[in-house]
Symmetry: C2
Subunit: 287 residues, 2 copies
């Protein structure tokens, strides 16, 4: 199958499931349900759910048990973006080409909507009835994961940071959830140890490369593609790879990481074609 077509097909399945799992707008509290749906359906590449489903299928997983988990990952990602966009954090007015949630419903509602998606994500994770998966996701978004990275990111603003520090921020803020996504799929698909390890290695390297490319795109990308203002990292004095090692070296690091990521999946042979394509796309920054 063509990779573009593959992505489109998966996104359709994911969006249908998200629609099913999100509370209806006509149900009280309507304003909250509307806000949750606005943020989830404001766009988004569905990268984490696609990774989870692809990992699940790559190890031979069958059935729909992965779907609520995949949707939970997207909800967690979206909750983190809503909180991240708040004036007290990155203060972004645009996200995925649309006004950020607090611009429409106010900051209080944005805080609560993020919290609601966070809680709903755990309700969905429970549907798969797998303690390890919930445990790994919970850890990946806690103080040793996503939130830990966000705190360090916040602390670093306006300060001179080392390569080690920006690596910490990126691997935690973005990397841990991406790695948890690929692992969740593999675990639910009953991967053997060798395959789980290989996919984890891919997830780790891919996650860091993805955030480095995100840094690069913030400098060289087109606003139409970005869905937000270019140069916002620099304006906010954020800790980024280009700020620390320059644009070209950042690109080189990302390239090496993605190459290593692909190599770690050799045991899968043609069954990992999706992840190879994904790495190429991230480098070209199409997804």
């Amino acid at each position: 199958m063509d990779f573009e077509e593959y992505l489109k097909k998966k996104r359709k399945i994911i969006d249908r499931a998200l629609d099913e799992y999100l509370p209806e707008e006509k149900k009280e509290p309507k304003l909250l349900h509307r806000a949750m749906r606005y943020s989830i359906f404001a766009g988004g590449k569905r990268l984490r759910p696609i990774i989870a489903i692809s990992s699940f299928e790559a190890v031979g997983g069958k059935g729909k048990v992965i779907l609520p988990v995949a949707c939970a990952l997207e909800m967690i990602h979206t909750y983190s973006l809503i909180h991240d966009d708040l004036p007290c954090m990155d203060d972004d007015d645009l996200r995925r080409g649309k006004p950020t949630l607090h611009k429409i419903h106010g900051e209080g509602m944005a805080v609560l909507t993020g919290d609601a998606l966070h809680a709903l994500a755990f309700e969905l994770l429970l549907k798969a009835k797998n303690f390890q998966v919930i445990q790994e996701v919970a850890k990946a978004i806690g103080t040793e994961g996503m939130i830990g990275g966000q705190v360090k990111d916040l602390e670093a603003e306006g300060r001179k940071v080392s390569l080690k520090q920006v690596e910490y921020i990126h691997t935690h803020k973005t990397g841990k959830l991406l790695k948890a996504s690929i692992r969740a799929g593999a675990i639910l698909g009953n991967a053997d140890n060798k395959r789980l390890k290989a996919l984890s290695a891919y997830g780790e390297k891919f996650g860091l490369a993805f955030q480095i490319m995100d840094d690069i795109l913030d400098i060289v990308g087109e606003e139409r593609v970005l869905g937000k203002k270019r140069g916002s990292d620099k304006a906010n004095s954020k800790a980024t790879y280009p700020a620390v090692v320059g644009l070209e070296k950042s690109r080189g690091i990302a390239y090496s990481l993605l190459k290593e990521a692909k190599e770690s999946l050799r045991i899968f042979q043609e069954k990992s074609w999706v992840f190879e394509k994904l790495a190429d796309y991230v480098y070209a920054r199409i997804v």
Copy 2:
């Protein structure tokens, strides 16, 4: 045992467990771990963990499986307070007699600290290895529970509300988590259906009465006991029972609810003495 002594003993056990489960301050990200500990140890009655443990023991539960769940409930409560105190929500400077978290570490850190406690709570809930307990807690703090109530509370600010609306706010914002606390203890203690039902009925009525007494205390309480400024509900034009039905009628409703709550536990005979005392204390507003 004397009830005061009982509460003191339980709080000691809970505080020791909270200290064990919270990441150490000397571990990175230090600022985040310090902030989490500040908010958890800034005081607090430990009502939810006490209720969970007491329910667990009332149905004959043995061992320590309830402890991580009890601590998770306190972390969820604390996360909700941190977010609730933000300038974009209730804008409180004091909580439990101490400066609120955003006053010390800024709003961004307060948002993230709440998020970190939220995620850690689920890690702790997992330790009991009981899907039903996690499911009930997740639901109780989601759009049909705590967050639903908070959203309606936010929407009601400055508006005239009906008794039905303020009942919705109180049963959701405060009641659902209290009810989930008593149910979590009962489920983990392997309660039979009759006892689980009885404790649920207590939790529901107790939860509403507790919030009504909280409204009343905001008007008549001493600031020394409150740990925050008196009259903040009125200043914020919050939806409260006294605002809708007056002080005396509010007291009457709370009294009836607490009486019914106690009556629902008759099958426990003397084994539910803690819950009877608790109801009396809440009415006298000592706890």
